[in-house]
Point group: C2
Chain length 246, copies 2
DNA sequence: TACCAAATGTGTATTTTATACACTTTTATA
DNA sequence: TATAAAAGTGTATAAAATACACATTTGGTA
């Protein structure tokens, strides 16, 4: 394989969001600058899973490759949500130090294409090469590298927007889930409370939330019925309607 | 002013959409390749309003500058909607010819950030420098330069999506509009029919559609009452709700 | 083995919203 | 003054949203 050339001015950053039945989490990667001669740790902070794209790969492929390289995760449903090109997005002192020392010398003008992905944040096995990727609660994801605080903020804004209008919540739940888990998720993301009976009445109208003949096991109380989301049924039965009204 | 440097690999393309009470239109710019020595017209086609960004400008500013340069229009509400980075997006023969002959030699790997803007397409005065910008019905916007057919398609998809969920339709109407104009717009974009009485009943629930004490003038029939959209009222009274249900 | 803790699961009455549907009114113009 | 063209209006019915409280099932433990 011949050497692939990285594009100096274009990168991809992925906001991988997970839910653990309590809160929303994001995968962040360790960025520690160690001086090679003295082994001094100059600083240590966190970044999103992101990197420059190669000249011979499109944006979606770049996003998938970068996530795989940094976390080992494959086949995530990565979707583009916004691009970031502020002039000062790499101008914090740590970013400049990092760019000076990190081998490949890149431009300090990089436009990055933001991607996001949703998954349940339990049972995720990271396979890391060198750098450490891990889940962090989004509430604690502050002081990140570059403009990544802003990128995360925009991703969550985008997530909330889609949450109101499409059934994407299921991507954050296990394949088989209980209605209480679903309700907790929606309450957490949308910051609302729902009445249990009315929530269930509403869900029962959704043909694409399919009841299974299985129950929870290993819980110290009455086990709940499990449900699945059917994408097929959703696509076939969805009816759009005005909802900006009133 | 010192010479600004264009970025080889990054451009912005703007899909400026207008409505003329009949159909959706888009501003396109003439791209005619004339050989300088023989004056032969090699080809002539159309592009979106787009160009490379400068090293010292952010994406939003670039979009505004490019639209102004190509059309004379200022202060349009330009919003980013998607980015395009397919490997072959500049690989049609005309695109290659154009890139070879058009002076500045750019890379054939350009990632473009898509912006869109909405406005009523009547009473728009183009001030053009050299190249011709004009409205074209979106239905006839085929065979455009680069991947611009695809960019337009994605923009309209985005528009429809937002149309269902937010009152952005008003950006495509004159400041003062009649309910029939509004209904026709929604029917055109969403591809649905609404019952007149039910549509009006619904609109009357929207506090942010404000009836004026004015009527249409110069029409050869009973003149309709005029209405305005109030962004202030909308922001203060909007209630989000689930709408992906059922 | 009886009791407790913990979470599940269920129904009804009321209000609000959506839908279906047809004729009269107002204006400019011929 | 008759006509054409579009504006404007109400009611009955069906569907959906909301408010609200208690009995049930299970595992664990005394």
């Amino acid at each position: 394989m011949t050497a692939r050339k990285l594009m100096q001015n274009i990168s991809v950053d992925c906001v991988i969001l997970g839910f653990d039945s309590e809160q929303l989490n994001v995968i962040l990667v360790d960025r520690t600058l160690i001086l090679p001669n003295t082994s001094e740790v100059v600083f240590s902070d966190l970044t999103l899973t992101g990197y420059h794209i190669y000249e011979d790969e499109d944006l979606d492929s770049a996003a998938a490759r970068i996530v795989k390289d940094l976390t080992g995760l494959e086949n995530l449903p990565l979707k583009q949500f916004y691009s970031f090109g502020a002039l000062d997005r790499l101008h914090h002192p740590n970013d400049q130090l990092w760019l000076e020392h990190c081998g490949d010398v890149f431009s300090d003008r990089v436009v990055t294409i933001g991607y996001y992905s949703l998954l349940p944040s339990t049972n995720v096995n990271f396979i890391q090469k060198g750098r450490n990727a891990a889940w962090y609660p989004v509430t604690s994801a502050k002081g990140l590298a570059y403009d990544h605080d802003f990128v995360v903020e925009k991703a969550i804004e985008h997530l909330r927007y889609k949450f109101w209008h499409e059934p994407i919540g299921f991507e954050l739940l296990p394949v088989k889930f209980t209605l209480s888990q679903m309700q907790k998720l929606y309450e957490a993301i949308l910051g609302t409370q729902f009445d249990k009976r009315n929530f269930r009445k509403k869900v029962s109208q959704m043909d694409y939330v399919v009841p299974l003949k299985e129950k929870q096991i290993g819980v110290a109380h009455k086990p709940a019925q499990l449900f699945m989301f059917s994408c097929d049924v959703y696509e076939k039965t969805r009816k759009e309607r005005f909802d900006f009204f009133v």
